[in-house]
Symmetry: C2
DNA sequence: TAATAATTCAAACGTATGTTTGAATTATTA
DNA sequence: TAATAATTCAAACATACGTTTGAATTATTA
């Protein structure tokens, strides 16, 4: 992949995450990447294809990281537990160096993808990653997925996706609205310690139900 | 308020929620509302002001509903519990007739407001509803908000907002990706029964922490 | 080195957007 | 009813966008 393509991809990823797809012009991307605007269509064909390429790079990394961890667990010949699946997904998102800003950018991209209707993107992801996705969902469902709770699990999954996407993507937004006393930063480790039990709590029925 | 203003407001609310702000042109709004395009600037001044007006109508209803319920509780001279605050917020969102599609539209608007950077909107909301917002946050914090857990509570609140926004806003999106077996619909009552315990679980520390 | 392919570039194209204009129409007031 | 204000309307404005073009430049191949 030529350096021009990479420069475009990097800046597109950054700007798309920060501002959204429709809000980011090709001129802004090529200007930041210091390349000619026509090179986007030369290397990627169109803006839609560029969006897909950005997601493809992330999803490739994510699922290969997730699947690698699952494979290791499978070698031990034990069933993949729900907690293991959650941790594997989080680690795959953070990368091996637990880079939270990387995961954050991924979440921001996902949020934009869900908020803005990008039909082409949905089709692309479905065509290329549906199998990986369904397998991960099965792991996340864990043992608690009985026939009659499939619907509930679907909604719990929505809650979890929303919590993950919104919280990571919104480092700054709520700060501006909420009281400044909440403004302090949290470490990656603390955040994970907070999020993993919460994720488990969201996915599983609670005692009071 | 003239019928033209109302027609514009109604259609703007619907289209903004469905598509986002930048994705909805004034021509689409005025066409759906069957009014002349210039009437937007005549009645509202600008597109930004129209966006603010849409939010203002929602927030007015929401906080007056929420505050009314809290006032009733305050008359009984008891401390407002966290669960009461959550239920009051949910009911205020749904309206007295528990109209879930109304709440859903509100969540979709909020999601777009967070995803797309609408600085003017944030300023507007902060100028007009900051007091209401902070009061509600205090209620939601409940008894568990010790000095050293303020940071954690801030993040729990993020989780909760994300879960609420994303799940309600995404009736259809995940369906298209996930297995069709999860496609069945859930009733408002079932959803509330599922969400309220989840919300409590998100906001409060769990045993395993 | 000469010929060919790949890539970059400045410029333009067509289209869609928010906004403004000034006349035409309707509603209100005196 | 006449005068005045409020509102609607078709048309145009300036601007920004994604995309395309064809020549210029660079890299690769024979």
């Amino acid at each position: 992949m030529s350096t021009t393509s990479l420069r475009i991809l990097d800046q597109a990823e950054r700007l798309f995450a920060e501002q959204g797809f429709n809000e980011t012009s090709l001129r802004a991307i090529t200007s930041a990447a210091e390349v000619n605007i026509a090179s986007v269509n030369y290397h990627f064909g169109s803006k839609k294809n560029l969006i897909q390429a950005v997601f493809n790079r992330y999803l490739e990394d994510f699922y290969s990281g997730y699947n690698a961890q699952i494979s290791v667990l499978a070698l031990a010949d034990t069933e993949v537990s729900q907690r293991q699946a959650i941790e594997a997904a989080i680690i795959a998102m953070l990368g091996t160096d637990l880079n939270v800003s990387r995961a954050r950018r991924f979440m921001m991209l996902l949020r934009h993808a869900y908020a803005q209707q990008q039909g082409h993107l949905r089709r692309f992801i479905q065509d290329h990653y549906n199998e990986d996705y369904r397998r991960m969902i099965q792991h996340l469902a864990g043992q608690n997925l009985q026939e009659d709770s499939k619907l509930k699990f679907y909604w719990r999954l929505q809650f979890l996706m929303g919590a993950a996407m919104f919280s990571l993507a919104e480092f700054d937004t709520l700060d501006a609205i909420a009281d400044a006393q909440y403004h302090a930063r949290i470490s990656t480790h603390e955040l994970l310690d907070l999020f993993i039990p919460t994720a488990l709590a969201i996915l599983n029925p609670h005692s009071e139900e």
